[in-house]
Symmetry: C2
Subunit: 306 residues, 2 copies
């Protein structure tokens, strides 16, 4: 089955200047001449955890698997270079499924100039799992880390949050160009992409930076999906709760020194809106501030991958 | 759970000169300065397909997952650099299992100077799957490909074949140093590691090289395990059948021009034995020749990962 899939892929994957030796050998050989700092990220998605295969077009699943990995490169402000795709397919209909997954991910790879350099295809009696590993290049502006935030930095985010489960978690656009653009134009101290949830991922940045963070609750951009979901669930959770906790928004959280934050907000250089939602502070932990000025501890409510 | 595992790993994974940014961020950053041609390989192993978790120590499973990937680097004559590990764990006992898997693979990583740079840890309701992606460096001697064999080249193999299911498929030593040593000292035209089976993988080399291959059946090194397994099964299959078809020997098959082949066989530069088992020929396909000189088509019997 793998041989057939490789034959099909060879006709679909365009040649790429990075790839010296591609699909069909024991491994791929990439020309990384001139790549000094290389970013490596791996992300494994599985049925019933990251998607429900029985309810969605597998092309959207393939696209999501790649987009989630691209989002990790965006979180590092790295330029996508190449990737390898490992599939674990249910035996029944495995080949058709593999083709559909690739049909979903290949256009996204092309859009971001990513070489699909190789992979591994397996069948088993269990559900679908997809693992993608990407290589990216750190630009001259350096990598964006979780650990660089400083007290006084402003917290800026792209886009809006909450309710991604209604569909956006499959079809989101990874903020690859946005991250590269911002990292080139402004001073960024730290960054992360939102997979676990806005408050949870902000807490990760604060923790790795040995500081704390305060969110101004009334400034959090709440997605329409968050309002729709709160309405549908009617379980007492507010749209803001969903914005803070849902996760899989795949937007960026950035720690930006005040002068650059002011400039970014004034210039709004992206097609997606940049919003300031708070500041990093010296005292460790995560805090919420209301419009009235109350400040209280905020529990990072994002769902951690248990 | 992932946070706990990362904390544990940070105490276990020694610093590595390649790793600028390791465990705990959105991605790892590697210093690949001076790495021109980079080999990337990914291999996904799953319960009931590549191992039986209920019957073996999970440390052996973790070791195998890494060893199988290292064997792919060996097949390319690439020096191991760094790897990322993605785990898909059963919810019940997931953390203990993850620790055991890492306890199995970390010593092997250290042995081969491999940086364990990052990973992804997930739980689900299905069985265990492990995906490892490795980066390696092509040396000045170039990468060993499947596609370089020429008619007249001798077929040389390391070690012995068959019956690996009795235990060797878990505890084999990947031929990393052997491959680098041979590629540095002799002219090698092509190479592969034996995962699918001796005849099947030899057929892969022949096919990618647009030529054929003849195996001299009486010269094939048959492992003791192949004899034991044939005895245990008593299903009419011979030890030679097992040597040709079983797979997961993780030995090397090499296409070597005659003069270098002669020298290699005379010098026996490795601690594992090198054996000549036939020649590449112009006519496509796979052939078997008996001691009596009969030549017939050989069906590549290796089990392809269906």
């Amino acid at each position: 089955m793998e041989a057939e899939l490789i034959a099909w892929l060879r006709g679909r994957v365009p040649p790429h200047p990075l790839v010296r030796l591609g699909l069909g050998d024991d491994a791929a050989v990439l020309n990384l001449d001139g790549v000094r700092d290389c970013v490596v990220t791996t992300d494994l998605l599985s049925d019933q955890v990251d998607f429900e295969l029985s309810r969605v077009d597998p092309r959207r699943v393939g696209r999501k698997a790649l987009a989630a990995n691209l989002s990790d490169l965006a979180a590092m402000a790295a330029k996508p270079l190449a990737g390898v795709v490992a599939l674990l397919l249910p035996r029944q209909g495995g080949k058709e499924l593999a083709v559909a997954l690739y049909e979903g991910l290949l256009p996204l790879a092309e859009k971001y100039g990513l070489a699909v350099a190789g992979g591994d295809t397996n069948c088993w009696d269990g559900p679908l799992a997809i693992n993608i590993t990407l290589l990216g290049k750190v630009t001259d502006c350096g990598a964006l880390k979780r650990s660089g935030a400083r007290p006084g930095d402003h917290i800026l985010v792209t886009g809006a949050f909450g309710g991604s489960i209604l569909g956006r978690h499959l079809d989101f656009e990874p903020r690859v160009w946005e991250s590269l653009e911002l990292n080139a134009r402004y001073k960024l101290h730290a960054g992360i992409d939102v997979s676990d949830g806005l408050s949870c991922d902000l807490a990760h940045v604060a923790e790795e930076s040995h500081c704390g963070a305060v969110i101004d609750l009334d400034t959090v951009p709440v997605a329409d999906d968050a309002r729709r979901l709160a309405g549908q669930l009617a379980d007492g959770s507010t749209p803001l709760d969903h914005a803070l906790g849902d996760g899989e928004d795949f937007e960026l959280i950035l720690a930006v020194p005040p002068a650059d934050a002011e400039q970014m907000l004034a210039e709004q250089p992206l097609s997606v809106r940049l919003t300031e939602i708070g500041q990093f502070v010296a005292e460790p932990g995560l805090w919420a501030r209301t419009a009235a000025g109350d400040r209280r501890r905020l529990d990072p409510r994002g769902w951690e991958h248990k």
